[in-house]
Amino acid sequence: MSATRVAVLRFPGTLDYESAARAVEGVGGEPVYAHHEDTALPEGTGAVVIPGGFSYGDHLRPGALASRTPIMSAVRAHAADGGKVLGICNGFQILCESGLLPGVLRPNASLSFICRQADLQVADSGTPWTGGRDEGEVLSIPFKHHDGAWFGDPGEARVVLRYAGENPNGSIDKVAGISNLGGNVMGLMPHPEEAQEPLLGSVDGRVLFAALLS
């Protein structure tokens, strides 16, 4: 079993799977696509990425329909065994709807789609997801979402990343990303797969992908 093999999930309407797969390769991993109807993760899967997009057209609630697919049963079993799972944007919404992370993502308070570079402050340095950065250090990672306001009880999670400066979407406690209490399941609204190349302004997203292989 290769610990570097990373399953990248694809649902109807998932958009960012190629960027996510490329980011996995960038940290030395081997991306393998897995699809919504699969009942098992690809053989040898060491970690899972759920990329962003609009799975099932965001019908009913963002992430609600994707969270009830066969592949998510396999992801639940993987997470229960301590396997790492990273959910980005719609992937974060799917993890919340699946019950793998607490809370839910609600429409931005402004009701606007927001797309820009964001400064994210490390709020908990004790998880693998921030690559040993100290609390208070800032990662520059872009976000693009309409339903990004996390609503839930921060006591049920570990708040890993907070928006530095003003809160762009009305999330509780300025939450940008949380992990479960065990630290192996992480979800965030910003897009670390889009912060991988110096040419694009930031490589701060690499730590989140490197964590998949750690």
């Binding site: 009913l60 609630r61 609600a64 009830r68 709807e97 809370g103 839910v104 609600r106 429409p107 931005n108 308070a109 402004s110 009701l111 609503f151 839930g152 009305g170």
Partner: protein, 78 residues
């Protein structure tokens, strides 16, 4: 076949930006007497088999509503 109507509404006390936006528009249009607007969804289910209301309630708990932020109401119109 039984028609079951499910209503899903944002929980009281949970900010409803959609309702607020609609209220703002209504106020601009001169409907100033509106003191609150909440926007939810109505889902119509045609259900075969016994206990359609019970089946619909289970569907709400499992998928149709997220009870962290939404309340649901199941009705079998007579």
């Amino acid at each position: 076949m039984t028609l079951v109507v499910v209503t899903v509404m944002p929980k009281k006390g949970v900010l409803d930006p959609q309702g607020q936006a609609v209220q703002g528009a209504l106020a601009h249009m001169g409907f100033g007497d509106v003191s609150d607007v909440r926007v939810g969804k109505r889902i119509e289910l045609e259900i075969a088999g016994h206990d359609p209301a019970g089946q619909a309630t289970k569907m709400c708990e499992d998928l149709l509503a997220n009870q962290l932020i939404e309340d649901f109401h199941v009705e079998v119109p007579g």
